[in-house]
């Protein structure tokens, strides 16, 4: 990690093109509108540059800039809820394969099949300190279907309440909970299949 040697300087090796691309992808997913997403990203980047701060490295800077972006997105969504004007394109149901994958973990009676039974991931602190976990976590997030990812990120990253998410996406509350359940189910399944296969965790 590069240390900075003056105030209001960002890490010298910050790849802005990549950062902007990541931010835009995240914003488009939440706002479902290219123009609004570009505005949010522009404002967030401008805000970050204006504020400035001393940073120890790229990852903290990126986390901080994303934090600003998330607040912008949340503001935009709440504003949208107050003054609904746009007709946004409705999403197709994209989670049928996902639903099937999750259902097949259980027997007819609804119990875990032996091979699908969740295993012990060990000490949470060790898990969250593992570089491999974080790489997999991001990869698994990327693999979520679009609508599922959208709802999950609104809940867990933008921090919206389910009522706000449902209003924004015009979903019934029960439907939101089902989508969130599938998102979490898919994430943990993806992590368990790909990470624990190396024999790190104990089989239960």
């Amino acid at each position: 990690m590069t240390a900075t040697d003056s105030l209001s300087e960002t890490p010298a090796d910050m790849d802005y093109a990549r950062l902007r691309r990541d931010m835009l992808r995240f914003a488009v997913l939440q706002l479902r509108d290219q123009a609004a997403a570009e505005d949010a990203v522009q404002e967030a980047l401008a805000g970050a540059l204006a504020k400035g701060a001393t940073f120890g490295g790229r990852s903290r800077y990126k986390t901080w800039v994303f934090s600003i972006l998330r607040h912008k997105i949340a503001d935009t969504l709440r504003e949208r809820a107050r003054h609904p004007t746009q007709q946004l394109t409705p999403d197709e149901r994209d989670d049928h394969p996902l639903e099937y994958a999750l259902e097949s973990q259980f027997t007819e009676r609804g119990h875990w099949r032996r091979e699908a039974r969740p295993r012990d991931w060990g000490d949470p602190e060790e898990v969250l300190a593992s570089e491999q976990f974080w790489q997999l976590f991001e990869a698994c997030l990327d693999h979520l279907p679009e609508q599922t990812a959208r709802v999950f990120m609104m809940r867990e990253f933008v921090g919206l309440e389910t009522a706000e998410i449902c209003r924004e996406l015009e979903l019934k509350r029960n439907n939101c909970w089902v989508i969130l359940h599938r998102a979490r189910g898919r994430l943990r399944l993806c992590l368990e299949e790909n990470w624990l296969r190396d024999g790190e965790a104990s089989a239960c």
């Binding site: 001393t54 940073f55 120890g56 901080w64 875990w112 012990d120 909970w177």
Partner: protein, 73 residues
């Protein structure tokens, strides 16, 4: 008695809404007896922590030691 499928659904919902006391009791009874669902519950907590860490809402202090890379949130 809840099935594992029903239990996992409620475990997830407990992150999004408060469960009624009957639901909470039923979930607790099930997870006491079912190791799979107990592990599922812990996994959801780990996911929760991971998301919180990625959110990183707290701004770094202005006078943080720039060479300190331990304990990053």
């Amino acid at each position: 008695m809840l099935s594992c499928k029903e239990t996992t659904q409620r475990l997830s919902e407990s992150h999004d809404r408060p469960l009624g006391w009957r639901e909470r009791l039923a979930v607790r009874v099930h997870t006491l007896m079912c190791r799979g669902c107990r592990n599922y519950d812990r996994q959801l907590d780990i996911l929760d922590h991971a998301c919180h860490q990625l959110r990183g809402d707290a701004l770094p202090d202005e006078d943080d030691d720039p060479t300190d890379t331990s304990g990053e949130r």
